[in-house]
């Protein structure tokens, strides 16, 4: 399934957002996710099903002003 993850085209097998994060090797609790521009809280990632062409954002803490 083709997805756009953080702006990059990516082929993934994971059927849900939670499984995509595991497939990509994300660990820890310091990132937040959005699916097609809508925030997906951590507890809802397992139920967030992915479809062809979906846009996923995975954001982590960064320096800011």
């Amino acid at each position: 399934m083709k997805l756009i993850v953080n702006g990059q085209a990516l082929d993934a097998k994971a059927p849900t957002l939670a499984e995509l994060l595991a497939e990509l090797g994300y660990e820890g609790d310091w990132y937040a996710t959005a699916l097609n521009s809508e925030f997906v809280p951590a507890p809802e990632r397992a139920a967030a099903r992915l479809s062809e062409g979906d846009r996923v954002e995975i954001l982590t803490p960064r320096q800011g002003g």
Partner: protein, 258 residues
């Protein structure tokens, strides 16, 4: 008197950004030297693993300061609102420095989008710190939207120009007499910070002026002293400028030699 925002007392009137420092170690030392109780942070994309973000977050937590996540770089209400919701989960705070940027070059806030986003986020329980201009009507709209603090710029972000519209800032302070006002953006030197604090602003938020200084740690300390001096001066009641010379030494009792 201590400053309180959203029911939280602040130990310092200086808030510091965490971007553009030469190294994480210098950032940590600068935050300590500044005495800031609040630092701003952001959320950005990171590749597989997210380890870099994790390391930065660990560094910030070790500093023992409160974080104020921002929505920097967001150019629409939708982007800003989604980013704020994501930040709340990661940083575990309802506080959000709300930026809705209206122009790529000037980084001027889109005040219409700002008010709309502030209304949405305040209704969701966020404590919104809006990055705004010194426009009084926009300030009023932000308060109506649920903001309890206003953060007007004094010059464009990163410009280091210092207060370019002193009369506008005076009017802002007078108009919002009972609202915590924090100058956000445009400060370049400690004297700029002192100047706006002397006008009665409750605090300042700055980043580039410290991070890009030759010695960020010493500059952080310089800003801390300037903010404190400016506040003290405001509370002490500064003399207003006068058009004519006024002798400081008494005229009565002077000798006459001719």
């Amino acid at each position: 008197m201590a400053l309180a925002v959203y029911g939280t007392g602040l130990s310092s009137r200086l808030m510091l950004g965490t971007a553009q420092y030469p190294s994480p170690a210098v950032l940590a030392e600068a935050v300590k030297a500044s005495g800031a109780g609040i630092v701003t942070v952001s959320l950005r994309r990171e590749g597989a693993g997210g380890e870099s973000g994790g390391r930065f977050w660990a560094l910030i937590r070790e500093l023992g300061v409160r974080v104020l996540p921002n929505t920097a770089g967001c150019h629409s209400v939708k982007e800003a609102v989604t980013t704020a919701r994501m930040a709340r989960e990661v940083f575990r705070t309802d506080w959000i420095k709300l930026e809705v940027i209206g122009h790529h070059d000037t980084l001027q806030p889109d005040v219409f989008g700002l008010v709309e986003a502030a209304r949405i986020l305040a209704a969701e329980g966020f404590s919104v710190f809006p990055y705004t201009t010194d426009d009084l009507v926009v300030g009023e709209r932000l308060l109506e939207a649920g903001c309890q603090v206003l953060m007007p710029w004094c010059a464009p972000i990163g410009s280091a120009k210092g207060p370019v519209n002193i009369d506008g800032l005076k009017a802002y302070r007078a108009h919002f007499a009972d609202i915590p006002l924090i100058i956000d953006a445009g400060l370049g030197r400690p004297s700029h910070a002192a100047a706006v604090m002397e006008l009665g602003f409750d605090g300042v938020l700055l980043n580039t002026a410290v991070a890009k200084a030759g010695d960020p740690v010493r500059m952080a300390e310089a800003f801390a002293q300037a903010v404190e001096a400016g506040r003290l001066a405001f509370e002490a009641g500064p003399l207003e400028p006068r058009d004519m010379a006024v002798p400081s030494t008494p005229l009565i009792g002077r000798a006459v030699f001719s």
